[in-house]
Amino acid sequence: MKILVGVKRVVDYNVRIQVKADGSGVATDGVKMSMNPFDEIAVEEALRIKEAGKADEVIAVTIGPKVCQEQLRTALAMGADRAIHVETDDEIQPLTGARILKALADKEEPKIVLLGKQAIDDDNNQTAQMLGGLSHWPQATFASEVVIEGDTALVTREIDSGLETLSVDLPAVISVDLRLNEPRYVKLPNIMKAKRKPIETLTLADLNVEVAPSVTVLKTSAPAKREAGIKVESVEELVIILKEKGLIE
């Protein structure tokens, strides 16, 4: 059984992003880039499923310009067996991304596609569900536990009302949430080994994928800022203020 796992290159989660003054986007020049943290969790889960003897091969996939191969190398150093780079310099929105993943799933025939529930740059939270829809596969989003039992997966999902469990037939798309696992640290010898693992490069044309209808970004602006307030010296002072504002009785 194969597992396909999606990897996206994003601005590192520790970076305080800056909106460009001309409204054309956020500044990314010289900014630290990393694998989307949710995707790291997806890679880790794929590896754990393989290590438990329930999968034979883990294939990491990314979509984007050449430089995204850095993140594929990270996935390979974590333990993925091989990687596929769908190379494009265009901005790829979720529906096109899902079409690409669908084409790869048709080609590789994995039993599970594991994706992060959202990328921390565009915060869309769409690609896994779109892939589920396009393939007519089951989807189990926001997973905090995944148990593979033969041809089904039992997935615990973190939803607003608590923890929901779904049983889905494989093949299925699973999107992962933060508490599914803690990704491993990459060890130096594995980074060296990863350099010898294969990365296959494909284009949208190779996969016969057409760009889907897209939204147009008209401008990027800084959000309305909350001003820092005041520091109070005592609970008594705080209580007086909150009572005056009618927030407490």
Binding site: T141, T165, P213, E233, L238
Partner: protein
């Protein structure tokens, strides 16, 4: 004719408050009608609640035993069948809407606009990116506009409406590959729902343990507040996941938000930006939470809560 369909979120008995917020956003599109669809097993009670939402013209009730639980793979084909009558389809950007809508979008071959926070026109919207540290203005392409509504950006519509309830049969083939197995709730008891509460008392890593969280619950109960938490507190097992506030948890807009022992990572702040008044209590005077708090108090949270309880 241009009209919008809002997908109702509910638990079979009660309409979730997020629906009234999504209707508020949908009403700003300036279209001929705002309709709500209730997909349920036995949905007449929910449909009646939806019919009271101000601004709603028609509540479409689709009853099917498979709709007993909200499973995206089963709901999506039914919504696709209804979508042809509409120019827009919206849902709240809760885990319900986030799970469901992209699947609908994929089938219909249209992009989705996630987390709409402002309507500029029927096709131009603002939405947050980078955990709310930037806002993009986006234009939907021609055709059906599909979106989820950032509920914290819209106060719920009032309940002065009297919409018509129309029962519809939707005959589509539904897959059998996805089965609902159960739901474990954290059993908040009578505490107000986090996303609807006017007041929220929240605890972070500084609370220290699951046992210590009882002081957060205690204060919340005294104030009639909902209980929130930072990711750190949930990760540490102090409190269940459904209390998490932030970029990947719940985005909330209470009138009063009180943060105890929360340092204020940007991912957490993304969830509380729309709160009316933020109070922060933290031992560390340099904690980033103080950069957004209206009232900050540097001190031991347990001592502060004890004093607060006495003063209330």
């Amino acid at each position: 004719m241009s009209k919008v369909l809002v997908i109702a979120e509910h638990d079979g008995n009660l309409l979730n408050g997020s629906t009234a917020r999504a209707v508020a956003c949908a009403s700003q599109l300036g279209l001929a009608a705002v309709d709500v669809v209730v997909l349920a097993s036995d949905g007449s009670a929910v449909a009646e609640q939806a019919a009271k939402l101000t601004g709603v013209s028609t509540v479409v009730l689709v009853q099917n035993p498979v709709n007993e639980n909200a499973v995206a793979a089963l709901l999506a084909p039914q919504i696709e069948a209804l979508a042809s009558d509409y120019s827009h389809v919206f849902a709240p950007s809760t885990t319900f809407g986030k799970d469901l809508m992209p699947r609908v979008a994929a089938h219909l071959g249209v992009p989705q606009i996630s987390d709409i926070m402002r309507v500029e026109s029927a096709t131009v919207f603002d939405r947050p990116v980078y955990a709310g540290n930037a806002v993009i203005t986006v234009e939907a392409p021609e055709g059906l506009v599909l979106g989820t509504v950032r509920t914290a950006s819209y106060p719920a519509v009032t309940q002065d409406g009297a919409a018509t309830i129309e029962t519809r049969e939707v005959s589509v083939t539904l897959p059998s590959h996805t089965r609902y197995e159960g739901l474990k709730t954290s059993g908040g008891g009578d505490r107000p729902d986090l996303q609807a509460a006017a007041k929220v008392v929240s605890g972070g890593r500084g609370v220290g343990s699951e046992e210590n969280f009882s002081v957060i619950y205690g204060l919340a109960d005294k104030l009639g507040a909902g209980v929130g938490a930072s990711r750190a507190a949930v990760d540490a097992g102090f409190i269940p996941n459904d209390h998490q506030v932030g970029q990947t948890g719940k985005i909330i807009a209470p009138e009063l938000y009180m943060a105890f022992g929360i340092s204020g990572a940007i991912q957490h702040l993304a969830g509380i930006k729309d709160a009316g008044t933020i109070v922060a209590v933290n031992k560390d005077a340099d904690a980033p939470i103080f950069e957004v708090a209206d009232y900050g108090l540097v001190g031991d949270l347990f001592e502060v809560i004890e004093e607060l309880e006495k003063a209330l």
